[in-house]
Symmetry: C4
Subunit: 208 residues, 4 copies
């Protein structure tokens, strides 16, 4: 059982995030899914296939950390396990956002298989929690896209168990996953990633 | 004769779609035309030459499936027949949108004559009704632009009779046609196409 | 003497146009100037140096066709004569808009001196009054920028006396001039030009 | 001691500027900091780490010209000294804005170390206070990014003591500093710089 008020607050943060992310063009055409922690065992998460700029009362459900619906007949995103492994791994994480921008999609396809996106020398790296200087290196792994979500869940869990200081990852041709202790932190991470992806692509346009 | 309430609902969905599509920059300078099915024999469609972001009560008329005005002295778009052949061919189609974005225009001019735009490996392909995996290939034919709309109507009808699973087409230097069972489906298709066109162009910028 | 109500209507159309054009990013940083005809001898025109997205009651004045202020101590744009020659030359013209977009600026600098921008094969060319087909050629002359406005006024007047069917021109590194019988026509021309400029630049990015 | 009403007016101009600059995408992810002069010895400045599109009553504090907080337990930006040296150097300056756009970030990284960004032949250069013609040269120095703000403060102070006519500078991979006698002047300078940065990058895309 979970606290209903905590669910309502988590759901509201998801609805507001959706309005923002859709308006920015980062969650087009019913893509993306978002979640927020309710307690140690439950998260609120978007119902599959909904318009992310128009989320309402019926569009956020509850799942447990194994990804099973709780008190709901709705179906959560096929990618629910990609969210829950992050909550399992990082007890302080309070929100996970998965977005589908043009920049993340294109950049992830342009990188050679097996290569991470390395970001260095950008002041905006300091927008990520715990980063104090632009002289650090941000390493964003790129996982191959797959419809086998359980396998990808295991793969991302294993990678971030080894690299807990990194704030997100890309799936090739698909999008970004990032997280934070609060929804505000998590939205700041999305903004910072999108900024850096655009910087990288803009640079590649001029220096192909 | 058609049901007036069904006309009013169809017209409202067109007015709302116009506000959205204009605001996105996909229907500039009075370009584009939109339609929605009223019943087996009638569709609501935009009057020729109107500002698509400012559609009002007098800007949506009724035509039958041969493209003739019904209970109206207005003139519908010169491209009305491109809409009606789709309603004839696909009894489940409830809405058709024709948009004029920069991306669709440029991409259609950059492709060699006779070549379709092939899209593969994008998670967002799943935004099209019936597509289950990013591993499918989306094939978007590009027809040459012409002022002979009857000829183009026959050509598109013949192509989609052969390829009913494909969700849209381009006219070179002109724009996109896509459709869906509901206006919401159709708008999702426009968003997904525009996303994919931008991905393709962004990739071509970096890898000319 | 001019009709005050006609002045007020002209001024309102300018204020509304400014809000739209600024929001689109086509009149940044107090650049641009706009005018609308009051009668055969008077036009309403923006006062020099005002924020175009925040035009108010005190920001539109009256000048005669020689560019002299009428019933006003304000100073109109240094480029007032570029407006008035168009009203002199074309008795049907009711509005002139001069905008400063990034695309117009960059494109005009990339073209070789002496060469016009030629646009062909775009369906959107039909957005210009009098154009019936995408198979026509739109020829946009590019004049060198100068602070000698009288000379440029004579030069543009002479060119358009010879080419009355062309709907606008560029000044190198500076911006666009276009006009129409009504403000709505003129705004449609701005939108169509900006669309075509973006198409041309997007194509040049991919095919440098 | 400072006049509280002057503080409140300065703070309001900062809150409004933040909403505008964030909405344009020039202050993402809690980056940027803004200030406005209260009197000869005090400035209002943003508290460190706040969301610039959502600034409120508690997000603007007072510092003296040495950068020390006055009547406040808040911490101002680490870059406070970059603001205060400009107020010391230029008694007429009333506002300083530091923004973090993609264009400023990318352009500053593309320029060779030691080279200033030279802008010439753009009509929009006239948006800078005191510039009368597009034939002037605007020279924007690019300082290397550092976490040693005191050193950078001395360096920028020395450079602008020699070049008081130049309206701003870049920090590599970081962002833009510009100023003006009023907040409106300063915002006009940001808009003009961003326009020119975009023109330069757009040109580099087409002519790499």
């Amino acid at each position: 059982m979970f606290d209903v008020t905590r669910y309502a607050i988590a759901a509201e943060s998801i609805v507001d995030a959706g309005r923002f992310l859709y308006q920015r063009g980062w969650s087009p055409a019913t893509s993306s899914n978002y979640s927020a922690r309710i307690d140690d065992e439950h998260i609120a998460i978007t119902v599959s296939g909904r318009h992310k700029g128009q989320l309402g009362a019926g569009d956020v459900m509850v799942v447990d950390l194994s990804g099973q619906p709780v008190q709901s007949n709705c179906r959560s995103s096929a990618e629910t396990r990609l969210h829950t492994v992050l909550y399992e791994l990082f007890p302080d994480v309070g929100a996970v956002l998965h977005t589908h921008s043009v920049k993340a999609t294109v950049l992830s396809r342009l990188l050679e298989p097996g290569r991470a996106l390395e970001l260095e020398g950008y002041e905006l790296q300091k927008a990520f929690s715990g980063v104090q200087t632009h002289e650090s290196v941000l390493s964003v792994p790129v996982f191959d896209n797959t419809q086998d979500i359980d396998a990808l869940a295991r793969e991302t869990r294993a990678w971030f168990a080894e690299h807990p200081e990194q704030p997100g990852y890309l799936i090739r041709g698909h999008g970004l996953y990032t997280w934070g202790n609060t929804m505000a932190d998590c939205l700041r991470h999305v903004e910072a990633f999108e900024f850096l992806f655009e910087c990288e692509l803009e640079t590649m346009r001029v220096r192909p």
